[in-house]
């Protein structure tokens, strides 16, 4: 028997501490935190060398504009991911908003303001319904929003019997729609602000940046955002800490749907018409951006900054590849590789997986 009774009682817990935190090393920590950003940087450098005209302010703005719509959707879906949910309906919310704004202006001869307000109202309503289904009817989030996705796919076609909306279209009652897209509405998709170079930054990019900052600030620096993370990470703990869990969850779906409807407004403004479309590609790209964002700064959780970087990264890749004449299927492939890579980065390397 060899009892060593000289140490203090604290020594045992101390050993615990060092043992469990031990699986990380400085290099590994660095790779996890900055690896993804370095990769983005490396890709930018690569394209700047390989593709003429890639490294220019115009090109940068193009990238931002091409990701503005999916980026806005991705920021919205980040809110639901933070609250521990998921929103599959964002793509069809966006196309529904696009159809609704076109309908208000082209068929009902409405102005830009009413079209925008109608879209936002639709977004809020859909978010509330999603939240209600998930929180009060206890439908699992994926299923509820999947249902909403199909519902909206059908609903957006009902008023026009499946036709796309454009000035001069024939309505179901045989008359011809006479309204037009108001110029101020189209400006949302087409106006450019002067920034260093005249006519550089499109309005949609400004909307993206503003929304990204708003949601980032909300999630990181307000107590509501923090509680939303708590709800997503441990709902019961949040509830026993006095948080109105149901309210936060519904709020997350409302945020997601509002962002999606803003995306839809910008889509309508860019296309100048209400195009029948499923929006599934918007959904997939947005979700890919949000999930890619997990890897940024080693967050290993949904976060607005990561989502923005994720969206940007996909945009940079597509811009660069297109400039180098890569066909569309290689782009899907690359998107997939990025996502898988980011997820491996997040789940295998970051040590979040608890032993």
């Amino acid at each position: 028997m060899n009892t060593d009774a000289t140490n203090t009682a604290q020594s045992a817990p101390k050993a615990t501490k060092t043992a469990k935190a031990g699986s990380s090393t400085p290099t590994r920590d660095f790779a996890i935190r900055y690896g993804f950003l370095l990769l983005v940087f490396a890709i930018v450098v690569y394209f700047s060398i390989m593709a003429d005209g890639f490294a220019s302010p115009q090109s940068a703005v193009f990238i931002l504009q091409s990701v503005s719509i999916t980026g806005i959707l991705a920021l919205g879906v980040t809110a639901t991911l933070v609250a521990g949910g998921f929103d599959l309906s964002i793509g069809s919310v966006a196309t529904t908003a696009m159809m609704a704004s076109s309908y208000v202006m082209v068929v009902m001869n409405g102005d830009a303001l009413s079209a925008t307000l109608v879209c936002l109202a639709i977004g809020i309503l859909i978010g509330l319904i999603n939240g209600f289904l998930i929180v009060y009817m206890r439908v699992p989030d994926l299923l509820a929003t999947l249902g909403m996705m199909f519902l909206l796919l059908g609903l957006q076609r009902i008023p026009t019997e499946g036709r796309s909306i454009a000035t001069g279209m024939t309505l179901p009652d045989g008359s011809v729609a006479s309204g037009t897209f108001s110029p101020s509405f189209l400006a949302l998709g087409r106006y450019r602000f002067d920034f260093v170079i005249p006519n550089l930054v499109p309005a949609s990019v400004v909307v993206l940046v503003v929304l990204a900052i708003v949601i980032w600030f909300f999630l990181e620096y307000t107590r509501f955002g923090r509680m939303m993370y708590a709800v997503g990470s441990n709902e019961r703990a949040a509830s026993l800490a006095g948080a109105p869990v149901k309210g936060y969850k519904i709020l997350a779906y409302v945020i997601s749907a509002i962002f999606a409807s803003i995306g839809g407004i910008l889509l309508a403004a860019r296309l100048g018409r209400g195009d029948i479309a499923s929006g599934n590609n918007l959904l997939l790209d947005a979700v890919a951006a949000a999930l890619t964002g997990f890897a940024v700064l080693g967050a290993a959780k949904p976060n607005a900054f990561g989502t923005a970087i994720g969206a940007l990264f996909v945009g940079i890749l597509l811009q660069g590849l297109t400039m180098m004449n890569a066909p569309y299927y290689t782009q899907d492939f690359v998107k997939g590789v990025v996502l898988v890579f980011a997820l491996v980065f997040t789940f295998a390397l970051s040590g979040r997986n608890r032993r």
Binding site: A5, A9, A12, P13, A19, A21, G22, M227, R236, L240
Partner: protein, 502 residues
């Protein structure tokens, strides 16, 4: 040590990164013997168990089973060889969405050469045999998810028994069992021991150890620091070896408390059960003890507004108190350190200070914008006060040991002044050192509030409470001052043999 050892661990080493968790551990297990492994949280017990049962591969050292080298590449391999482990985390041992019968037979459904077709009748028949042998009384068709924790644990152990193991490793198997259920487990362990199984039993509970141990091995900082055997075991020596210090057994200084802070009148927790009343005074710590499932958690949640009162009245500081939600309760100064910290308290994605400030973010933020510097300041104060072992207040929760995690959840609610602080099983899965730290802090800060602690373990109640109330069948049935108390009556009340009238 003993030539008849069936299972031998020799000089086992295992590191994670630069940290050596097992630093040359050697243990022998003899057939028909219960060897108890004691160790504070973080001593390396779990790593040892996981290395022995094939989850981790050792860095060096050897394992011998029945004289042959034993190097399991997976748990399945270890199980086939006859080394079976029942893990501490109950839900690791059962699949919640399957029924009891399938759970019991689960290991017969996997592996090469097993029948492809699933015959539910045969499975149920065989499961019945296993259950009968174990004295398991749960409905075999029930889904495990619907069973209480204690029954799940019994299923997990029964499932391990189905393998007819040569070596059985039980990792804190009684931590969520009531005494009656623990007694069933002990019977079973003794039956297996009589049948020649070598048993490694990991536990903190002295009552278990006294009841079962043939030998005690103490582990500290990844090394064996003491082996105790012989006809009379030196329990104190074992505990001291494990902790590396002499634990004082001073009784606490019992206080009588000041003004009445909280009172409940004719409270009913469940329709048809007897109403009960009690008062809680300023500065005193009251423990409510009783078996698992007698309504302790129901009462805790009722006081905290997380559960509806069936009937009765409550007053807090002389005013009627009827919280409709946890938020209500918190706003009036009633806080709950909930049972089962990983399910109910810890936000795993948050670090220490974010976990501590969770309920009081409103007070810590300006117009909704959170002030992280103030949060961190508060967390640092709590880390010092409770002796939380960590690098900084920004450490992630999963880097902390169980005891330190529990300290964080207690710190969360000590950070603001409470009128009534409720703690539901605050010492579950907490090593003795951390448990004493928490108890000391609770007693030191008790003035200015009433404190109510729900505990299944009587030892823990003696350690912390001024007054002990006994709960049985969703009502209170006894009251004791923690000073020369009548143990016989207390035990009788707990087991429901006497029903005192209020």
């Amino acid at each position: 040590m003993n030539a008849t050892a069936i299972f031998r661990v020799e000089n086992l080493r295992k590191s994670f990164g630069p940290n050596r968790v097992l630093d040359g551990v050697s243990i022998d297990l003899q057939p028909g013997t219960v060897t108890v492994l004691m160790g504070a949280n973080g001593a390396g017990k779990s790593t040892l168990v996981k290395t022995v049962c094939g989850v981790y591969q050792p860095d060096s050292g050897s394992l011998t089973l029945d004289g042959a080298p034993f190097a399991p590449a997976s748990t399945a391999e270890a199980i086939r060889a006859g080394v079976v482990t029942v893990h501490q985390n109950i839900n690791d041992g059962v699949i919640a969405d399957l029924d009891v019968a399938t759970n019991l037979m689960l290991d017969r459904l996997t592996g090469w050469g097993k029948p492809v077709l699933f015959n539910p009748f045969r499975i149920r028949r065989e499961a019945r045999e296993v259950a009968d042998k174990m004295g398991l009384t749960v409905d075999l068709r029930a889904e495990v998810a619907d069973l209480p924790l204690a029954d799940r644990q019994m299923v997990a152990i029964a499932r391990a028994m189905a393998h007819k193991p040569k070596v059985l490793i039980l990792d804190e198997p009684t931590s969520s069992l009531s005494s009656a259920e623990a007694e069933r487990l002990f019977d079973l362990v003794e039956r297996l021991k009589a049948g020649g199984v070598a048993i490694l039993y990991i536990s903190h509970r002295m009552s278990d150890i006294r009841r079962l141990a043939d030998r005690i091995v103490s582990l500290r900082d990844g090394r064996i620091v003491g082996t105790f055997d012989g006809p009379v075991l030196d329990y104190e020596g074992a505990v001291n070896a494990m902790l590396g210090e002499i634990i004082s057994h001073d009784r606490i200084e019992v206080r009588d408390g000041g003004d009445i802070v909280f009172s409940a009148r004719n409270l009913t927790l469940k329709a048809g059960r007897k109403p009960f009343s009690f008062d809680l005074k300023d500065g005193e710590i009251v423990a409510i003890t009783g078996l698992v499932g007698v309504g302790k958690t129901d009462l805790a949640e009722t006081l905290f507004g997380a559960r509806r009162v069936v009937s009765g009245d409550m007053t807090l500081s002389g005013r009627p108190y009827r919280p409709r939600s946890a938020a209500d309760a918190i706003a009036t100064g009633v806080f709950l350190v909930a049972k089962d910290r990983s399910a109910s308290s810890i936000v795993p994605d948050f670090n220490i200070y974010e976990n501590i400030s969770l309920p009081f973010l409103k007070n810590l933020s300006l117009v909704g914008v959170s002030a992280r510097s103030r949060e961190r300041e508060r967390a640092r104060a709590q880390i010092d006060a409770l002796g939380i072992v960590c690098r900084t207040e920004r450490d992630e929760m999963f880097t902390l040991s169980g005891g330190n995690q529990q300290k964080v959840t207690v710190a969360r609610w000590l950070a603001e002044p409470a009128r009534l602080l409720i703690l539901d099983e605050p010492f579950q899965g907490v090593d003795i050192a951390a448990r004493r730290d928490i108890a000391r802090k609770l007693r030191a800060s008790a003035d200015g509030r009433a404190t109510l602690v729900f505990l299944t373990e009587l030892d823990e109640a003696f350690e912390i409470a001024d007054r002990i109330l006994v709960m049985s069948e969703h009502t209170l049935c006894g009251e004791h001052i923690n000073r020369n108390l009548d143990m016989e009556r207390l035990l009788a009340e707990i087991s429901g043999q006497t029903m005192t009238v209020n």
